[in-house]
C-alpha cells in the first residue's frame, strides 16, 4: 500500500514538475544568487541550518512554490510578482530541478564515522 502511494506521489510530483513553465536553468542560477534565494537555502539549494529548507534537486511542485513565495506562511520573506515575475520564477525552478543528487551517504567516508 505504501509502495503504491509512493508511486502515486512520485507520479503526481513529476506531473506537477512537468507542469512548470519551461525555464532557463542557467539564468535561474544567476537569479538564485542575485535575488537572495541562496542566502537561506545555500548556493546549491541544499538548505541552510535554521534558515531555509533544502529545495533541490527535487523541489516541491511549481505551483506550490509559486503559491508559497507569494504568500509565505512561515518565516520566508515574500517574493511578490512585483519583485519576481513568473518567468524568472520558472527559470529559478529550472535551476532547482537541474541540480545533481548527492552521492549516497554510504559512499561518503566522512559521514560514516
Amino acid at each position: 500500500m505504501k509502495f503504491a502511494l509512493g508511486i502515486l506521489f512520485t507520479t503526481s510530483l513529476l506531473m506537477a514538475q512537468n507542469a512548470a513553465p519551461a525555464g532557463d536553468a542557467e539564468h535561474g542560477r544567476k537569479l538564485f544568487e542575485s535575488d537572495g534565494c541562496y542566502q537561506c537555502h545555500g548556493r546549491e539549494a541544499q538548505g541552510g541550518l535554521g534558515t531555509g529548507p533544502r529545495l533541490a534537486p527535487k523541489p516541491i511542485p511549481y505551483v506550490a512554490i509559486q503559491k508559497y513565495i507569494r504568500q509565505p506562511t512561515g518565516q520566508m520573506p515574500p517574493y511578490t510578482a512585483k519583485v519576481l515575475n513568473d518567468k524568472d520564477l520558472a527559470d529559478i525552478y529550472a535551476f532547482l530541478v537541474s541540480r545533481k543528487a548527492p552521492p549516497p551517504v554510504k559512499d561518503i567516508p566522512l559521514l560514516n564515522n
Binding site: G42, L49, G74, Q75, P77, V83, L110, L111
Partner: protein
C-alpha cells in the same frame, strides 16, 4: 594656579621629608640621593639639573612597597592564573607589580591588542575552566572598548573579574591625557550589566571588595564584576608596618530549588507521559552534564540541548535536539533548565510585517522553569526575554538543584512505572536514530560544492580530530548535529549577547584554559567576527597558544544579508541589493596571509573541498608543536 605654587610632591606627599627618607634608608641601606642616582643610571628617569644638585629638602622619588604590590597579593590569593590585558597607564603601577613583584607568574600577563579581546578571552576561559581570569583595562577608554564583551559575558552568565585603572583625585592627575582617562564613577559604564562593582579607597577596602567581587562573580548566576584600582592607591607606598588583612575566601553554596517545588516538579515529571527537559545554560561544570544525564536516564525522557553549554551527550538515545519541535509539540510536561528564552522555545513567532505568534505546545502542557536568572535581574537591558506562562518556577541554580530532583524522582518511580519508562526510552532511541540518519543525508547535499558546504567543512575537521582529546571552542551548528560530544569541555556555548567580535577571542581564552590539560582546541571562526579585532591572532602567536582555527569564510555578515533581503522584499523594492553594506568582498580578505603577518601558520584560501582535509592536517602538525594555525575555508553561507 594654586598647584603651581606648591613644592613638588609625590602622590599624596607620602614619605616626603625626613621620616620618609629615613624609612627608605632603612629599607635599602642606601641614602636617598644614591638611590635616585642609581635609578637614573638604570635609565628609568632623565637626570635633571635639580637632580644633579639636589636641594636640602630632598624629594622622595622611589618607593619599595607601592600599594599595587598588595593588590598583587590579593590577586594571587584569589588564585588567578592569568591576567588578560592591553596595557594602560591608569594601571601602570599594578602592571609593574604583577611583573616584577609578582614575578609574572600566577597570574601571568597575556598581552591583548584590544580590551574587547581581553574580556572575551576571559569569557571563553571561564567556560572551560569554571573560574574567572583577571582582566585589566583603562577605566575610561579601555572599559569603553571592553563594554560589549562585558555585556556578552553578562548575558551568557559567565564570570569575568575586571580591574580598571582610574585616578579619582584631581589634584594628583597628570595634566592632559590622564584627565581624559579619569572619571568620577568608573563603574557606571557597565553597571547595568555587571553583578557588582566597587571603587575602593584603601588597600583594606580593595582586599575586601576583591574577595566579595570574586564571590559574587562565581556564585550563580555567575556574571562579570568590576573593581576600580585607583591610581593613587596603586602608586602610593604603603606605610611602614602597614599590613592590610587578607579576607578569607569562602565560596557561597549555589542556590538550590525549594524542597517543596522540587517535589512537585518530580511528581509532574514522573507522572507525565511525554515529559521533555530543555537545557540551555544548565551545565556550568562537568557535574551538570553528569547529573542531567542521570536525571534523563532516571525519567527515560526526551532532552533538548539548546547548547548554551555542553549539557547532554549528543549521541545519547534520549537526545531529541534534532527533532526538538516535534518533541515540544508532543510534550505534556516541559522542564526548562536555565533556558534563556522559554517563551520563544514554546511559541512560534513570525518575523513578518504583522508579527504574530502562537503556542506550539499542547493546551494543557505544564511548564516548569529552574533558573538562577531571576536572582539577579536588571531592567535596562532587556535580555530577560518575553514572560512565559509557567506552572512551577524556581529561582535557583539548575545544576545545583539536579541532585535533589533526581533523588525525588527516584523515590516516586514504582516498578510498574519503570517498565513504561523503559518503553519510552526505546521509542525515543529509535526516533533519535532516525533523526541522526536524516542529518547525515542533509549533510551529503552540496558535498562537493564550491564554496565548500558548511557540513563538509565540519566533517573534514572532525575527520582529523575525532581520535584526539578535542575541545570545540566555538559555537557552530553542524558539529552540534554531527560530532560526538560527551565531555563538558568539548563545547562552550555562544556569545550570550550576540555581540559580534566574541568568537575569536573567546576561542583563544578557552584554548589558554585547555592548554595545561593538553587538549586540542579547535575553533570554527566566522570571518566577520575575526575582523572586529584580528590582533587576537598576534596574541596567540606571541604567547604560543595552541589553537586550530578553521575559517567559516562566507565573505559576509550573513545574518545581516538576510535581514536586508527581508526588508527589500517587504518593501517590494530592488531585491538584488542586499549585499550592499553587508558583505566582506572586493577585495576578498586573505585570512591565511593575515594570520601569517602576525606569526600564525596560515593555509588557504581553500575553495575546493578536496583540498581542505590535507590543509587541516598540515595545520594540526603546527598545533601539535604548541603553536596556533589557521585554515581559511571559503564556504557556503550557512
Amino acid at each position: 594656579m594654586s598647584s603651581s605654587k606648591k613644592p613638588p610632591v609625590g602622590r599624596r606627599g607620602f614619605l616626603k621629608g625626613a621620616a620618609g627618607a629615613a624609612a627608605l634608608v632603612a629599607s635599602t641601606g642606601k641614602p636617598v640621593a644614591a638611590q635616585q642616582a642609581e635609578t637614573a643610571r638604570n635609565g628609568t628617569a632623565p637626570i635633571t639639573t635639580q637632580e644633579k644638585d639636589p636641594a636640602t629638602n630632598v624629594e622622595v622619588l622611589t618607593a619599595d612597597r607601592p600599594g599595587s604590590d598588595f593588590m598583587v597579593d590579593v590577586i594571587k590569593a584569589l588564585g588567578f592564573e592569568y591576567i588578560f590585558a592591553n596595557p594602560g597607564s591608569s594601571f601602570r603601577g599594578l602592571h609593574e607589580s604583577v611583573i616584577n613583584y609578582g614575578g609574572n607568574k600566577s597570574p601571568e600577563f597575556l598581552t591583548c591588542c584590544h580590551e574587547e579581546s581581553s574580556v572575551a578571552m576571559g569569557h571563553g576561559y571561564a567556560k572551560i575552566e569554571g573560574k574567572p581570569v583577571c582582566v585589566l583595562a583603562h577605566g575610561t577608554v579601555g572599559l569603553q572598548h571592553a563594554s560589549m564583551a562585558v555585556y556578552n559575558a553578562y548575558v551568557d552568565r559567565a564570570p569575568v573579574f575586571m580591574i580598571i585603572g582610574n585616578t579619582l583625585d584631581a589634584e594628583t592627575r597628570r595634566p592632559g591625557v590622564e584627565w581624559a582617562h579619569s572619571v568620577q564613577d568608573a563603574g557606571i559604564l557597565v553597571r547595568d550589566f555587571t553583578k557588582f562593582d566597587d571603587c575602593p579607597l584603601s588597600l583594606q577596602h580593595f582586599a575586601e571588595s576583591a574577595v566579595r567581587a570574586y564571590k559574587f562573580a562565581t556564585t550563580p548566576p555567575t556574571m562579570p564584576v568590576l573593581l576600580v584600582a585607583d591610581g593613587d592607591l596603586q602608586e602610593t607606598p604603603m606605610k611602614p608596618g602597614e599590613k592590610p588583612h587578607m579576607p578569607k575566601m569562602t565560596w557561597d553554596a549555589p542556590p538550590q530549588g525549594d524542597t517543596g517545588a522540587v517535589m512537585e516538579t518530580a511528581r509532574m515529571l514522573v507522572n507525565a507521559e511525554s515529559p521533555v527537559i530543555i537545557a540551555d545554560r544548565c551545565a556550568r561544570t562537568p557535574a551538570g552534564l553528569k547529573n542531567l544525564t542521570e536525571l534523563a536516564d532516571t525519567l527515560q525522557c526526551a532532552v533538548i540541548n539548546q547548547y548554551g553549554r555542553m549539557n547532554f551527550p549528543s549521541r545519547h538515545p534520549l537526545n531529541q535536539t534534532e527533532r526538538a519541535g516535534a518533541a515540544i509539540r508532543d510534550a505534556d510536561v516541559i522542564l526548562g533548565l536555565e533556558v534563556w528564552d522559554f517563551w520563544g522555545t514554546v511559541n512560534n513567532f513570525r518575523d513578518q510585517l504583522h508579527r504574530t505568534s502562537r503556542p506550539i505546545t499542547k493546551a494543557n502542557a505544564k511548564m516548569i522553569a529552574i533558573s538562577a536568572t531571576d536572582l539577579n535581574t536588571r531592567s535596562n537591558y532587556q535580555d530577560f526575554q518575553r514572560f512565559p506562562d509557567l506552572d512551577v518556577s524556581m529561582a535557583a541554580d539548575s545544576e545545583a538543584t539536579l541532585p535533589a530532583l533526581i533523588e525525588a524522582c527516584r523515590k516516586l518511580i514504582t516498578t510498574d512505572r519503570k517498565s513504561a519508562l523503559e518503553a519510552r526510552r526505546k521509542k525515543l532511541g529509535e526516533l533519535a536514530k532516525e533523526a541522526h540518519d536524516k542529518m547525515l543525508v542533509d549533510a551529503s547535499y552540496a558535498w562537493d560544492a564550491s564554496p565548500i558546504s558548511t557540513a563538509r567543512m565540519a566533517m573534514e575537521l572532525y575527520g582529523q580530530i575525532k581520535g584526539r582529546d578535542w575541545s570545540l571552542v566555538s559555537n557552530n551548528a553542524w558539529p552540534q548535529r554531527l560530532w560526538n560530544f560527551d565531555k563538558h569541555y568539548q563545547y562552550i556555548g555562544g556569545a550570550g549577547g550576540a555581540g559580534v567580535g566574541y568568537g575569536s577571542p573567546a576561542a583563544v581564552g578557552a584554548a589558554v584554559a585547555n592548554k595545561k590539560y593538553g587538549r586540542l582546541s579547535v575553533n570554527i571562526q566566522n570571518d566577520g567576527d575575526l575582523m572586529y579585532a584580528p590582533g587576537v591572532l598576534w596574541t596567540q602567536a606571541h604567547h604560543k597558544i595552541p589553537l586550530l582555527t578553521v575559517m567559516h569564510n562566507n565573505r559576509a555578515y550573513h545574518q545581516e544579508v538576510m535581514h536586508l533581503q527581508r526588508m527589500a522584499n517587504r518593501h517590494q523594492r530592488d531585491i538584488t541589493t542586499a549585499e550592499i553594506g553587508t558583505t566582506i568582498k572586493n577585495p576578498n580578505i586573505d585570512y591565511a596571509a593575515l594570520a601569517r603577518s602576525m606569526g600564525v601558520h596560515g593555509e588557504g584560501p581553500i575553495t575546493d573541498p578536496k583540498d581542505l582535509g590535507p590543509a587541516i592536517a598540515r595545520a594540526l602538525e603546527v598545533v601539535d608543536r604548541g603553536e596556533p594555525a589557521l585554515v581559511d575555508a571559503v564556504t557556503q553561507p550557512r
